[in-house]
Assembly symmetry: C2
Homo-oligomer: 140 residues x 2
């Protein structure tokens, strides 16, 4: 299975988790043929709206291309979405991480997070998405 | 060329128009395998953010499925996007129409707009997207 296919499978796995938690989530397909998508998923519920970049890792550290993440942050800003990077470490599951919690490596070209930091700084799906912090639907 | 392919070509044509006008636009790919996308494109620039449903028509009237458009409006609302329906009539080009300007037909099951009404109530690409109404970037 190629990297692209693995990435698509990971995105679909997350989509199912959102659907199961009554979030509205869709995949973002990029802006042209062959062009990289600026963001993998957008997910919303009540007043909460997230842009999500999905990554998987077989190792204990995940590296990201800084220019790609900058593009993702610009996209999030334009559409008023809160940016989150979702990393699935093998046998550890998904962590949802604020882009600011990534370290900078390789003289600024790469961002990185270790599994250890992901556990400490990241959140689990249920911590962010399962409990609705927005009860406005109930009282309006 | 099938309907699905025609639809994709129309979406790509619009994407190019947005890119040429320095808008950020992406395709929305739906939330699962085989599932209909709730929206074709999202486009943003400055403080303006639109959800766009793309349709083409060989005839002088375009019908839409009301339940599909309801889904589109819910999606737009969740993500804080202004909904617009883009209809390309053969040899007439694109019209950008407020969903409220469609008439209701077939005892509420369908929405429809004639080419004549599209010309009267709809806007051309350049009227909405070419002139930036947002100069905040210049003064901040």
């Amino acid at each position: 299975m190629g990297n692209k296919e693995k990435g698509s499978n990971a995105e679909r796995e997350l989509l199912k988790m959102f659907s199961a938690s009554s979030w509205r989530a869709v995949r973002v397909a990029g802006s042209g043929i062959g062009e990289e998508s600026p963001c993998d998923l957008i997910a919303g519920k009540g007043n909460q709206k997230f842009a999500i970049e999905c990554k998987t890792s077989k190792d204990k550290k995940r590296y990201l291309n800084k220019s790609q993440i900058n593009d993702f942050l610009v996209f999030s800003e334009i559409f008023g979405l809160e940016p989150l990077i979702a990393v699935r470490f093998n046998r550890e599951g998904w962590f949802f991480i604020n882009p600011k919690d990534f370290g900078i490596e390789d003289t600024g070209r790469l961002l990185a997070i270790s599994l250890e930091d992901a556990k400490q700084k990241g959140k689990r799906f249920s911590e962010i998405f399962s409990q609705s912090e927005d009860f406005s639907d109930l009282i309006s």
